[in-house]
Symmetry: C2
């Protein structure tokens, strides 16, 4: 395996800056939502770059773009790397983009040095990872991995009722290749961490060992609406007071499971919402995460017990409904080891880390040996036009990707 | 003083049921907002009833309707009683209506028995007590009492920009009499309690000794918005968690001042309001009440101290702004004594009580000896079409009003 191979940091950064010009946002980031005209423009640019790199481009029926570099033995399943080029409405320049451009940079580097791999290499740009225009997120990799049917995927619609199927036709990316159903040798995805841990600890690379399990709940707290001036304190059934106790209980459940547990109340709506009316009802959401299944179950039990206790003590009703459950995902040991070895070999300060956000890799792990490579982002900020990453961190992650892909591509 | 005088309970109840037909709501109550066509209709009915009772009707420049029954000595300031005929959008049939119709029933009873009082008697229907269409509430009695200027009062506008002045003209109640500026011998107002205390304790009448002071605050809690999945628990600055602690602190401040203290968070808005985003900012309102000024000050200090402590402990910003302050009001001792004597004489189970809601009487207390008479309402419910009161309780309160008014009208 060629160990003196280095990616080109400025070529990698320049590619990011060129992509950032397509579908600009209002504050320095991007608004390049799935299947809009700016998404078409970035797809065209990506396809051109891939063809200039001598790759064979294929578009599947969910519009995901695959670009293939042959290996010595093209019967072997390809080593795939990529991410997504669509962004949030107020998205950053690196979320998803880094994974696609890092894979392209790996290919360009292999070309520069005339390196031939045993297994073929493919780059992928997944359609609609963000799910902001067409919920839910990661739909195209989800169809690839058999989580959704193709029909389901093509039927996902935006707020105006336009479907993915229609919009793919409109922008000319309704490809003909079957979605999935072919073996993938390994899947790697570079991504900014979207959290504060790597930056906090001065690490340049995160060796992602898996993704958290997640559970989302909706909760209705029902007390009794009454007049704030005339109702004595001890005769109240204040839904907001009960909800406040539940918010603190949720926080304690997360704290009890440090360092990997997460427990958050994101939405809280108190009704009727008048300064002098004691809230009679509250709606809130809870988001709980942990990388281990049994711990997720324990957190769920603690949460339901806390809700029951508060309802009983405050003499009101708390209705808890689980609305989404995504199991923890452990990434492939050999792929993770290849990532770790790449960081170690390059002398990069790194640490193991769990992915706290969803990625195409989380679905791909169901159908291929998968791993991710994180790099820090400034302040952990993402889904925000202020999102920022350093050229040297992107380069470090890309170099690790190169190592890991070569490891898997030549490993047979 | 004639002690064998009794009001007519079924005439009193029938009058309520007739008024309830004007501007009906959707669920058995009323939507008869200030200066709408249904307000005009009820005013016309009230004026007709007053004229049929031989009263002289005057409308002042804020549209408040006064109906006068002469006394033996018309140089004496009148003994005034009344309330308001406008309702909330989803209002009940008794809130305000009881005070006006009880005063009318007193006059009808005096007429039935040919009773002559020393001082004249007047009934009043105040314009726009509710303040739901034209904020703020109690505006007409507020102008009468010199809290607002006439210009201010006439300029108050609804959500469509129509002013009280314009609407009074439209419905033909832009009266010519000066607002206030004349002596009032005493002012009495019957009202449903709008709270649960009298019903809870089996009392038919509340002898209202005064009104709570009130303070309203707006609070902004500013933390840091971040991803619910990727942000470790100990690196969060969760504005909703801090707000939850503040909600509990506010509740404790109210409980510490039992039985008369009230402390409520009525509005709480957490932003951005997404299931997987830790709230970075929260807006909330606080409503605090107590009948004693020094205690109100102590509650204010405790609240600000709690906010500062939470902000410091959670490393975020909590900005507290007082937006309204209404001092406690003690009603006139002689008027209160007259009410109490009326209840005792009639053998009615009664107790002293503080008004927890605003009323025209609270402003009138600034310019005339004032007292209120409460009766229970079902479940303490008001500002709700389900508001309900019993005929016998209304009759009991009206009887006490008769006694108190005669006491003050003949007292000189």
């Amino acid at each position: 395996m060629p160990t003196n191979l280095h990616i080109d940091p400025s070529r990698l950064w320049d590619a990011h800056m060129q992509v950032a010009k397509i579908g600009p946002g209002l504050r320095g980031g991007n608004n390049r939502q799935s299947l809009t005209d700016s998404d078409r423009e970035v797809r065209d640019l990506f396809v051109r770059w891939c063809e200039e790199a001598g790759l064979t481009v294929t578009v599947d029926r969910m519009g995901s773009i695959f670009a293939r570099r042959p290996g010595r033995n093209n019967d072997l399943p390809p080593i795939l790397a990529g991410s997504h080029l669509d962004t949030q409405p107020t998205g950053g320049r690196f979320d998803g983009v880094f994974g696609v451009l890092a894979a392209l940079e790996v290919v360009r580097t292999l070309n520069d040095h005339g390196v031939e791999t045993e297994a073929p290499i493919e780059i992928v740009n997944w359609t609609n990872e963000e799910g902001s225009r067409f919920p839910p997120p990661m739909i195209a990799s989800g169809v690839f991995a058999g989580v959704f049917s193709l029909e389901e995927g093509l039927a996902k619609a935006d707020a105006d009722g336009r479907t993915i199927g229609e919009e793919l036709k409109r922008i000319g990316y309704a490809g003909e290749a079957a979605v999935g159903g072919r073996p993938i040798g390994a899947y790697f995805e570079c991504h900014i961490e979207q959290g504060p841990i790597l930056e906090n600890e001065g690490c340049q690379v995160g060796v992602v060992t898996g993704a958290q399990g997640a559970r989302w709940y909706e909760v209705d707290v029902t007390g009794r609406e009454s007049h704030a001036g005339t109702t004595p304190m001890e005769l109240r059934r204040d839904a907001l007071l009960a909800a406040a106790k539940l918010v603190q209980a949720v926080n304690r459940i997360g704290l009890d499971q440090r360092p990997d547990g997460r427990a958050t109340v994101g939405i809280l709506q108190a009704r009727p919402g008048s300064p002098n009316v004691i809230p009679g009802s509250v709606f809130l959401t809870v988001d709980m995460r942990h990388p281990e299944g049994p711990t997720m179950t324990a957190m769920d039990e603690a949460f339901r017990a806390a809700a029951a206790e508060i309802a009983s003590a405050d003499d009101l009703a708390i209705d808890v409904r689980e609305i989404w459950h995504s199991p923890p995902v452990a990434f492939d040991e050999a792929c993770v080891a290849a990532v770790r070895a790449g960081a170690e070999q390059a002398g990069i300060r790194h640490r193991d880390i769990i992915s706290g956000a969803g990625h195409d890799a989380v679905y791909m792990a169901r159908v291929a040996p998968t791993a991710m490579i994180f790099v820090p982002c400034e302040g952990g900020i993402s889904h925000n036009e202020a999102e920022n990453a350093k050229p040297e961190d992107l380069a470090a992650g890309c170099g690790v990707l190169l190592h890991a892909m070569l490891d898997r591509a030549n490993a047979r």
